[in-house]
């Protein structure tokens, strides 16, 4: 009817120059649209603490390039950021600062705990390191590795993207009453294994 009829008099598609274009509405659910747009333009907040920060910078650099996923703008101000990638070990002195930055971020916000030190205290089970950043902020994805290479970090980011997009993250958060707590597998070292020593 009307504008959408391929033929017809006067005010048809063809007469408006829309020949061959039959469907110019896309329908879908609002949730999908929101999920898609949230996932595709996550802006990380700079929270590089230690060695993992170097690998996070490597993920943003040319070889692994997070800009393909809309994420190369690391916002210094937490007010402008959606995602906090806690990259590195969190010491006792730094934990209040971490919580303050997290609180300053606007909803919706997500947290990736990058590396074993952020996930569980890592190899430093002592007085100085908070044993897992989930003691301080709710974590959505844990990426293992010491440090996790860019491949693992990207895997964690894709996992986060997928679960944001299909609403899984919000369901997990409700179930855990906190962060989504998704663990990803380490994906580095895909090249040939190194034999330590020689036989």
């Amino acid at each position: 009817m009307g504008l959408f009829a391929p033929e017809g008099e006067g005010k048809s598609l063809a007469s408006h120059g829309f020949e061959g274009l039959e469907h110019n509405f896309v329908t879908g659910r609002l949730e999908d649209l929101v999920g898609w747009s949230r996932a595709r333009s996550l802006w990380p907040a700079t929270f590089g603490l230690a060695c993992c920060a170097i690998e996070m910078m490597a993920s943003g650099a040319a070889h692994y390039d997070m800009a393909r996923y809309g994420m190369e703008v690391f916002r210094a101000s937490p007010r402008q950021a959606d995602l906090m990638i806690v990259a590195g070990r969190v010491s006792q002195k730094m934990a209040p600062v971490l919580r303050t930055i997290y609180d300053q971020m606007m909803e919706p916000k997500w947290v990736i705990s990058m590396g074993v030190c952020a996930s569980s205290g890592g190899m430093f089970n002592n007085y100085a390191i908070v044993q897992g950043v989930d003691q301080v902020v709710p974590v959505d994805v844990y990426a293992p590795g010491c440090p996790p290479g860019p491949e693992t970090l990207l895997h964690a980011i894709f996992t986060l993207h997928d679960s944001i997009q299909n609403g899984d993250l919000l369901r997990r958060r409700e179930a855990n009453n906190g962060g989504a707590m998704i663990e990803v597998a380490q994906r580095d070292g895909q090249s040939a294994p190194v034999t330590i020593g020689r036989s």
Binding site: G48, C51, A58, S91, A128, G197, R198
Partner: protein, 440 residues
Amino acid sequence: MALTEDTETTDSGQADDGLVGDASRVTGIDNAVLRMSEAEVAALTQETTDEFGDSKMIINMGPSHPSTHGVLRLMLEMEGETVLRSKPIIGYLHTGMEKTGEQLTYLQGCTNVTRMDYAAPLFTELAFSLAVENLLEVEIPDRATWIRMMMCELNRMTSHLLFMATNGMDLGAVSMMIYGWREREEVLRFFEKVTGLRMNHNYIRPGGVAADLPDGWQEDVLGLCDLIEPRLEEYDILMTGQPIWRERLQGVGVINEAECLALGATGPLLRSAGSSWDLRRDMPYLAYDDVDFDVIIGTYGDSFDRYAIRLNEIRESIRIVRQCVANMPKGDYRVQNKKVTPPPRARIDESMEALIHHFKIFTEGFKVPEGETYAAVESPRGEVGVYLVSDGSSTPARMHVRAPSFVNLQTLPHLMHGGLLADAVAIISSVDPIMGEVDR
């Protein structure tokens, strides 16, 4: 001893008596360091000042800041845009590594110290291994020494490339960040091939190195050198001759030799002030007296000199690496002392003794004779040293790492005094601290 023409010999310019410059700016208590506690600063802000009172303001920079190179916090006393006194506040990355070091065996010790300076991990591993070997009194085979030297020089290249990338980004040349990391990735790929990891390799261990170089390493390394050398020319075009770069770095953060020595600064910071002190040349370790290289010295002690020194040190490292490829000796990659090095994997299946040694070394650890020692190497940031005290057991009684960035950070207030806030960013970047080793 292979000295080149450029290297200064003996005492000229190195005698502590004839110091270049005057250190009075840094001695004494009333200088550029803002020695106030948090409580005092908080109390200061509560005071009301009259309209024409003090225009000084104490502001906080960090620890979460895009340009402070990690979790460094600076308390700056400012008058307008000018920095008067300042105080670096550290400890936001304190990991208790020295305490952890007392719980780990000597074989595990390298996993711990490697995470201190995470941009140049092999140097701290090397210092630790040298300290342990001093106490063990073992002789390291030549091939292990040359492998260590080559891997360390490659690591120096990656660290300086990281410096140039972050320095460029801090000053606004954001494309330098991309270029620096592009080169780094190539070298990290080689590291992954040899050590299994891109970073924090745990490769240099007491007794030698963990694994021999894989087949085809010469082509890989020479390929890296051929790749990186012309790209350094690109950086020269992008930055060195560029007027904006020079304006931002020349004359910014000036320090003289006497001040550096008084503050204990080493590395490119000291060399930018004109001192030619480089441990590789002046107190050689490994096989540095068998290779030719120049020590790059600056003249003005400013941030531009430090940038130029690091750029040229990449060239010198490439030179050393080429010589390592040409002269790599054959032999063992670790000392063949059954009490120290684990046996090869295949032999464990055949020999009961090998199995027992393997078990003892990996569970209890090898025992190191009682004693204390200090071993130092020249890392990209300065002198990294390990002071090791052994009580005869399999774990250290005290393991202290002398981190160059920890000591170099003391120069920051003096470098920033009288400069602008934007210069503060350039200065922190030119000192190139790595907070992992500052806080340990």
